[in-house]
Amino acid sequence: MLVLTRKVGDELYIGDRICVKVMGISGGKVRLGIDAPTSLRIYREEVLAKVKSENRFAAEWELTDFQKMVDHLPNNSRER
């Protein structure tokens, strides 16, 4: 991993089009400003981790759970 030291107000570029600026530091938190093409999605790591763990949890369905859910659906919501 490349490790750089920057001061508040300093910027750094990743390639030609992504610019990360240190906006401020307070109370152990760093505020970053990011200029990047809208074609790139930018996520906080924990959001990605949350989706990953929700997927893992979602991979544990048993057939009986499915049946139980469908059997107890509110009336008239069954497709056929």
């Binding site: 930018i42 959001v47 989706v51 979602a58 859910m69 069954r78 497709e79």
Partner: protein, 170 residues
Amino acid sequence: MKVMTSRFGALEIDDDRIIDMPDGMIGFAERRFILLSPDNNGCFFWFQAVDNPALAFVVTDPTAFVPGYEVTLTPDEYEKLKLDPESADIILLAVTNIHHDSTSNITINLQGPVVVNPITMVAKQIVLENGKYGIRYPLFTSPAPEPSLKKEEERPADSPQKISAICSNI
């Protein structure tokens, strides 16, 4: 082709019903999936991995439960999905979870929808980071003596999307 599944045994699936996920489901490496529609599915489908018999998710059409639910794709995602931005004909699937804690609550993940291009059968799971949609949107409690969705307008609508066009009946 023949697809082996741990829940439904061996299935014969038309090749044109196989969905390719080059990036897989987030956290999983498997990249080929099929959508299975059991009899009496109550608008839920199994999203079954083709190359791993044990891996299957339960998915549903989020737009049937959340009116106005929409996902804005980036140019990169259009490209990955081999999707023509002009036509933008997509199917959204929400990963469904059942919580066995006290009651069996059913939730759907609105923050990480699976976007399917029904023409090319390429799909991608997208992560939305706008704070608008939650990861555990509650649908209802099952089983429930008094279903929480009682009012007419709260019942899931007939699936507005054409999921039936890309799934296999089992």
